[in-house]
């Protein structure tokens, strides 16, 4: 079935709505790392009663929002190299310490983008393998296997309409069996013991429709 036909009448979650949903699911008081791309927007959606410590791989914890125009200081940037601010209590550290925080299991939740995810938690998000593509991995491999929980935030489909949730990743892996939850514009899916458990569906979308659009992967409804 053509993805666009099947999705007629479905109200996809916007990027902002998705970011707000991820933010609401992050437990109060945790240490969180937001990957570059889609996950960066999560930082704009924490509620007033929600206190989290935002970690950025380049050596800052307690990261705050973007500065006011004209107040940018490019010695204070995030992993995407965009200017940020520092909250009271925040501090700086060198790269080996920053990655010790990841590898050592001191980050509670990281949210990453993805090219492909498999139900066993395998993640591919650094290289398409295309001949003229320049590979770049950054901190993705360290984060994916180091954080206590790795969540993925992504569009459900590629630009040419293929589901990014696949039986087995075809792109080079970032990490094995590391993703526990997927947030997409169509559904929220928990990956539990190799199964894809759909916990939320966008308004107007049925589990049966989503299953048709996700060949090779068995989607399970929440019991």
């Amino acid at each position: 079935m053509n993805a666009l036909v099947a999705l007629q009448g479905v109200k996809r979650w916007s990027r902002d709505a998705l970011a707000a949903r991820v933010a609401a699911d992050i437990p109060n008081g945790t240490v969180v790392n937001l990957g570059i791309g889609l996950p960066t927007a999560v930082a704009n959606h924490f509620g007033p009663g929600q206190e989290v410590m935002l970690h950025s791989e380049n050596g800052v914890i307690g990261m705050g929002p973007a500065p006011m125009p004209g107040e940018e200081d490019f010695d204070l940037i995030n992993a995407g190299k965009q200017p940020v601010t520092l909250r009271p209590g925040g501090c700086f550290f060198h790269h080996a310490d920053s990655f010790a925080m990841m590898r050592g299991g001191h980050i509670d939740v990281c949210v990453l983008g993805a090219f492909e995810v498999a139900p066993n938690g395998d993640l591919a998000n650094w290289h398409t393998g295309a001949a003229d593509a320049i590979p770049a991995v950054g901190g993705a491999m360290d984060l994916a296997i180091g954080a206590k929980q790795t969540w993925v935030m992504m569009e459900y489909f590629t630009k040419d309409g293929r589901a990014k949730l696949v039986a087995a990743c075809r792109y080079p892996l970032t990490g094995q069996a590391c993703v526990s939850r997927l947030y997409t514009d169509l559904a929220v899916i928990e990956l539990v013991d190799g199964r894809a458990v759909v916990t939320d569906l966008a308004p107007g979308l049925s589990l049966a429709d989503l299953q048709v659009l996700t060949p090779g992967v068995t989607l399970v409804g929440r019991a």
Binding site: N58, D75, K81, F92, A96, P135, V137, G138, G146, G175
Partner: protein, 231 residues
């Protein structure tokens, strides 16, 4: 008297030879020692092996060194950026070698060199193409990959304040690779914006102890330029 302060970046890099391995600090433009890289260009040294997180931004600093074809090989984690066109062109034409390293492995391999560690096992990269051909071992039920230290002839880093013993402080996220790179080279050169009287830096706030630093050069303060992303 111990005095590591030199009058110019050129004087600090006069003994760089062709083929040298050079650690260059910075995460994008933050902490990138542009004045030292310009001085490195002036030495005329070629066939360099450069270690940096990225592969240059725009036209200045590391991008300039790469664009002038002085770099034989780059060891980095994230070469692909919105403004890394000098690297992109050389890479696509096969004129520069790339060793891609996960960022935490890059930092730890540099730290290991400085700390006298012969190698370490890490779960990062296990089961991925970046671990291909490397020795692996299961530790506590989890697969680990053996990684080796990255030793260098020179480290070029940017700090904030320094004294004649080489003690350094940094500024915000410009610290990034500076402290670990300082440990890992035979000769570490640091730029600072201010030379402090010996004893005036708060001993509790010195980030890099002077024994890791061999040469210190004062440079004028200039605001760090934006780089690495689409405006």
């Amino acid at each position: 008297m111990i005095d590591k302060i030199l009058a110019s970046a050129a004087a600090a890099l006069a003994d760089v030879r062709d083929g040298a391995t050079v650690l260059i600090g910075g995460f994008g433009t933050a902490g990138q020692p542009n004045e030292l890289i310009d001085a490195l260009v002036e030495t005329g040294a070629r066939n360099l092996v450069v270690v940096n997180n990225n592969a240059g931004n725009g036209e200045t600093g590391l991008a300039r060194l790469i664009g002038l074809k002085r770099v034989r090989k780059i060891i980095c984690s994230f070469p692909r950026q919105a403004d890394s066109h000098h690297f992109d062109a050389l890479y696509r034409s096969g004129a520069i070698e790339l060793e891609l390293v996960p960022q935490g492995n890059l930092a730890e391999r540099i730290r290991a060199a400085g700390a006298g560690i012969g190698g370490f096992y890490t779960p990062t990269g296990s089961g991925t193409p970046l671990a291909a051909g490397k020795e692996t071992r299961e530790i506590d039920g989890r697969m680990h990959v053996l990684e080796h230290p990255i030793h260098a002839d020179f480290a070029l880093i940017k700090a904030e304040r320094g004294d004649r013993w080489g003690n350094l402080t940094y500024r915000m996220t410009a610290r990034n690779f500076g402290p670990v790179m300082a440990m890992a080279a035979k000769t570490t050169v640091a730029t600072v914006h201010e030379i402090a009287e010996l004893g005036s830096l708060d001993p509790e706030a010195i980030v890099t102890p002077g024994l890791f630093v061999h040469r210190v050069v004062r440079i004028d303060r200039a605001a760090t330029a934006a780089g690495g992303f689409k405006h």
